[in-house]
């Protein structure tokens, strides 16, 4: 049965009176349907021992490629259907437009990382790629000095979703170029002592040089960005979260119980996308659109590869794609130390890309370079 892996071995058929009939595939019949004489001897023994009534049935030769095909196949004999796991845009390459878009959003993150605080920290930008809308932005808020001045309390940040920003008029793209050069050292690298994901365990060190105010050892940029996007969700789609067709996450499932999130997610993803396309065409507000399920369908841009905590948080929040610019050899969980995207047991898998930015962008923070043709060679690569 090597070439029939998609064919189920057992069929369960319901009969009248709540009874079940089980049929089991014993062996392959000949091509002309009736060669029962080809049954191997050991199978004949089994048939006799259990007094089985045999018949020749038809099964589908090839595995189904779509759900519809699969439903048709099951009318003959049950088969299994595995929708492709990695049907994510980008796996087979990016269009020129997508590449530009990825580079622009990454530069937005780079700019945030360098501009919003006194020191260079990690920054995160969550984007809806179907509308090119920025869903939330955040920087590390681990140390008091890294809490953005314009948004001094975490509380305020939590309940104030960022204004939807359209691709093309990203704020502060050209500001703050000076600050990065202040912090770049002579060997042209960033002073990145304060990047939370690079040094997750360093929060407890005494630093007399840093300011006073609120701090939090776990408020890494990605965690704060998730928090803001959840706050935005609650604000734009009010409701108690416990009604109708709404969704719940299942992060603590029973041992040995496996749902099939890929199918469910796929269904939902397409409905969200359709709704959003309609809404942007009509230029109406979000209240008419379908409430998103966590960050399903969204991308996140991070300057540095996330640590294990952040990478797993992004699994929980169902982010679709992660783009990062710089690897994190100390604690990176997407290739450097761990490789979470390859953990089969997880119930959600995102695609991970490293964006190779020209070195001088990181140093000078000059996003205008992105428009030159030279930068189109900075291809994003799947990890």
């Amino acid at each position: 049965m090597e070439n029939f892996r998609h064919v189920k071995r057992i069929r369960k058929k319901s009969l009248e009176g709540g009874k079940w009939e089980l049929s089991v595939i014993l062996c392959l019949a000949g091509e002309n349907d009736s060669e029962l004489d080809r049954i191997p001897n050991e199978v004949i023994e089994v048939i006799q021992q259990y007094q089985l009534s045999t018949f020749v049935g038809k099964v589908c030769k090839y595995a189904a490629s779509t759900k519809e095909e699969w439903e048709e196949q099951c009318k003959f004999w049950p088969t299994s259907f595995h929708p492709p796991t990695y049907n994510i845009a980008g796996i087979t390459g990016f269009t020129e437009e997508d590449t530009l878009s990825v580079l622009r959003f990454m530069k937005y993150a780079v700019d945030l990382a360098a501009s919003s605080t006194d020191v260079v920290v990690n920054a995160a930008v969550i984007v809806d790629p179907s509308t090119k809308e920025v869903i939330s932005t955040a920087c590390d808020q681990v140390l008091p000095c890294t809490i953005p001045k314009c948004n001094s309390s975490r509380q305020a940040n939590c309940f104030k979703p960022p204004e939807p920003t359209k691709f093309g008029d990203l704020p502060c793209m050209k500001k703050h170029q000076k600050k990065i050069s202040i912090h770049s050292t002579s060997d042209s690298t960033w002073l990145c002592d304060f990047v939370s994901c690079l040094h997750p365990w360093r929060w407890a060190e005494q630093r007399p040089d840093i300011g006073s105010g609120s701090w939090h050892p776990l408020q890494h940029a990605a965690m704060v960005a998730i928090q803001s996007s959840a706050a935005r969700d609650r604000l734009l789609f009010p409701g108690d979260g416990h009604s109708g067709n709404e969704f719940i996450q299942e992060d603590h499932t029973l041992p040995h119980k496996t749902v099939s999130p890929s199918k469910r997610q796929k269904t939902h993803l397409s409905s969200v996308k359709d709704e959003r396309e309609n809404s942007s065409e009509m230029n109406c507000c979000h209240t008419d659109t379908v409430r998103p399920y966590l960050c399903t369908g969204y991308d996140i841009y991070l300057v540095w590869e996330p640590c294990t905590m952040c990478a797993m948080a992004l699994v929980h929040q169902r982010v679709k794609r992660i783009f990062y610019a710089l690897p994190n050899p100390n604690a990176g969980a997407l290739g450097s130390v761990q490789r979470l995207q390859g953990e089969k047991s997880l119930n959600h898998h995102y695609a991970v890309f490293r964006v190779f930015l020209p070195r001088d962008i990181l140093i000078r923070g000059d996003p205008s370079v992105a428009d030159t043709s030279e930068n189109q060679q900075t291809i994003t690569s799947g990890i």
Binding site: S214, A230, I248, H252, T253, L254, P255, H268, H316, N347
Partner: protein, 180 residues
């Protein structure tokens, strides 16, 4: 007189019962029933229950909730980062389900002393099931970790949650499990 070992076991069970109470509260709120308590010097100093549905933030696991309670409290009373780290290094967490990879990483970052958990988490577990973040290495802090404390009670709560036919479940969704 009870042996010191027996006394410890009794204490562990008592704290796990309190964590299970939190999990039950989560269940009442139609949340995935996971709960925890953080204990310092034999006293419960923080409670936490899963709030992922309410917050629409899938990172709001019981452990993260309890950690945030302490961080806010300790910061209000003016403790420095170093003092807070010292406090965490004396704390024990009792949680009904094995901390997921995110929570295990967070517990390592804050530098918790030890963790007792109920049932294992064979899809997301960060304390032995999928990753072993409690073990630590050259660059990361580990913590003592022991599972299987009142695991059947923890599993039975989770089973109740999934068998009651989750009203918030996306459609299409699997039907509630048939009792046999």
């Amino acid at each position: 007189m009870a042996l010191p070992g027996e006394e410890m076991v009794r204490e562990t069970i008592e704290f796990m019962k309190l964590a299970l109470d939190q999990a039950k509260l989560a269940l009442d709120c139609l949340e995935v029933p996971v709960g925890c308590v953080i204990v310092e010097g034999g006293e419960v100093i923080a409670l936490g229950k899963n709030r992922t549905t309410e917050t629409r933030n899938a990172t709001r696991h019981a452990e993260m909730e309890a950690i945030d309670v302490l961080l806010e409290q300790w910061q209000k009373s003016g403790l420095s980062q170093k003092e807070v780290a010292e406090k965490f290094s004396k704390c024990t967490l009792y949680v009904t389900c094995e901390p997921c990879i995110m929570c295990a990483a967070a517990l390592s970052i804050i530098g918790i002393k030890e963790v007792y958990y109920g049932c294992g988490n064979d899809k997301f577990g960060g304390c032995g099931s999928i990753l072993s973040l409690h073990a630590g290495d050259q660059s990361s802090k580990g913590f003592n970790c022991k599972g299987g404390i009142m695991a059947s009670e923890a599993v039975s709560l989770l089973r109740t949650f999934y068998e009651q036919g989750n009203p918030n479940a996306p459609k299409p969704h699997r039907p509630p499990v048939q009792q046999t």
